[in-house]
Amino acid sequence: MTQLPLRAQLASALGRSAATLSRMTGRGDGSVIGGRVGLMLEPDLLRQLARDRKLALVSATNGKTTTTRLITSALLEVGEVATNVFGANMPAGHVSALSQHKDAPYGVLEVDEKYLPEVLDTTGAGVVCLMNLSRDQMDRAAEIWLLAQKWRRALSGKPTHVIANCDDPLVTWGASTAAKVTWVSGGQRWKEDSWCCPECGGPLDRKDADWACRECTFHRPEPQWVLDDDAVVDPRGQRWLLDIQLPGLANRSNAVMALAVAEAFDLPVERALPRLREVTSVAGRYTTVEREGRQARLLLAKNPAGWLEAFDVADPQLPIILSVNAQGPDGRDTSWLWDVDYRILRGRPVFVTGERRLDLALRLDVADVPFAVCETFSEALAMQPPGRVDVIANYTAFQQIRSEFGRAV
């Protein structure tokens, strides 16, 4: 790597010190404050830190953190990788990630959907991985049609190689201005945001994974990679069993995206796949915590599409605890609960907690799902018989449970 200019070196070093201080004083993991300090001293720091590295940006409504982790794990096969492992997915987090591994030849950065155009412009990343777009915390997040429009403008005229999920019409539309796209059939479980053509607004006709607009020529491109249940078919038609440790269909989809990105870095499937198997949990997701003979597996679900993924992973034989908050990071509005079909939980013992348990309780009542309301997560756990229980929580509810049980990862 070429040397950073002196000013950038200094900014980067001071940022790292701030991050260390933040961790030592227990104020956080340091991944944001360090980057902020660095950017304050040198506004051009991200560009300079990104220069001369092979970078992949990963964006989507759901699965960014996990897919970033999977790609990172794969690329460790060929060299050191800088990554925002704690999910700080805005420019300060990216500065911090790249500062901490300043000699790493590779970088894999999770990027907030809104920030993708800015981060792509600044870093000139060679690879961009786009997975899905769906409704998410509308009181603070941007409208998704508008987001896809911004992706189109950002990708147009750049040499970036895009890896995109062609089963999601809005992602396809957002990616299709790029000069080079590798299409991946990664599946789409949540379809409620893509019944209309992003190009003309006409109705989309759908048959299995395929889709096409009834009124214009916009249609699903032919995929080079195909997720087929528990296997992936690569561009040469070879079939690989996706025997990864992370559970559920959504993670197999994330894994296929990761394999396609790895290949864009010239890392073949036979070397990347064993690396994906090493990932067992991501920032606490899928971790099991234990108290007094009860083993609780933690599933994070932040929006309706995420709840569908969590239901896919949850064991129908087990009781289930649901915890919902509505703090800033969760979105202050709980309306989205009405987009989730909770009827799948009928017949399981269901326990409801979190700061907005009354919203969830009414939602379940209208869905005819019996439940018990608990003041706290500890109370809900204590009501379980010894053994396993699944937990689905949204963002801050999830973090509260994690911090109470220690940050087991």
Partner: protein, 239 residues
Amino acid sequence: MPSDSALRIVWIYPDLLSTYGDQGNVLVLEQRAQRRGIETETIHVRSADPVPETGDIYLIGGGEDRPQILAAARLRRDGGLHRAVNRGAALLAVCAGYQIMGSTFGGEEGQPVDGLGILDIASVRGPARAVGELVAEVDAALGLPTLTGFENHMGVTRLGPGVKPLSRTVKGTGNGDGFEGCYTGHIVGTYLHGPALARNPALADLLLAWRVGGQLAPLDDTRYELLRQERLNTVLAAG
């Protein structure tokens, strides 16, 4: 199969206007009718399909700018909703769906876009987004308890003489002039977005009563009341 006597609930354009939990209004109406022994039939009308004219209660929800403009153009061309409300059907129009019932509303660049002219209102794009909890006292003539819900919009709506304000805002922005929503005949428009009826079951019952007639049997509303009180206490205490 639904019988001829079933209450027909028509959800307009879930593929364009159902951004955030709008399905809740359908589910709450179904539940409150069914718990009273009233059979229901729900019709989801996609934007490529004609709007049936013989429904009892029509629901239309919120959406992004572009889908809102598309929905307005299609409903104007279709004409089914006009004919249904002229026949006396009830209509709950929420957020983007509320705006398009007027003569005009603001598009994504603030440009005026033609609405359906079903309600005597006109909307423009305001200077700032109104996001947050909303509390409002309903027009006494309707005899409903305090409205509670969430708003998230950029609209400013002026009411003409053909409609009455639905409520006076205690907290939040609503139409932008101290009032929230409007009503006339069997039509209610509101900025309370998404599942407005889940937080205001009495409003759901008003729509039902308009079509079913007579006194509706009381229901055990404990779950609704617990949520309403928690929300109203929290929001009003925040000042």
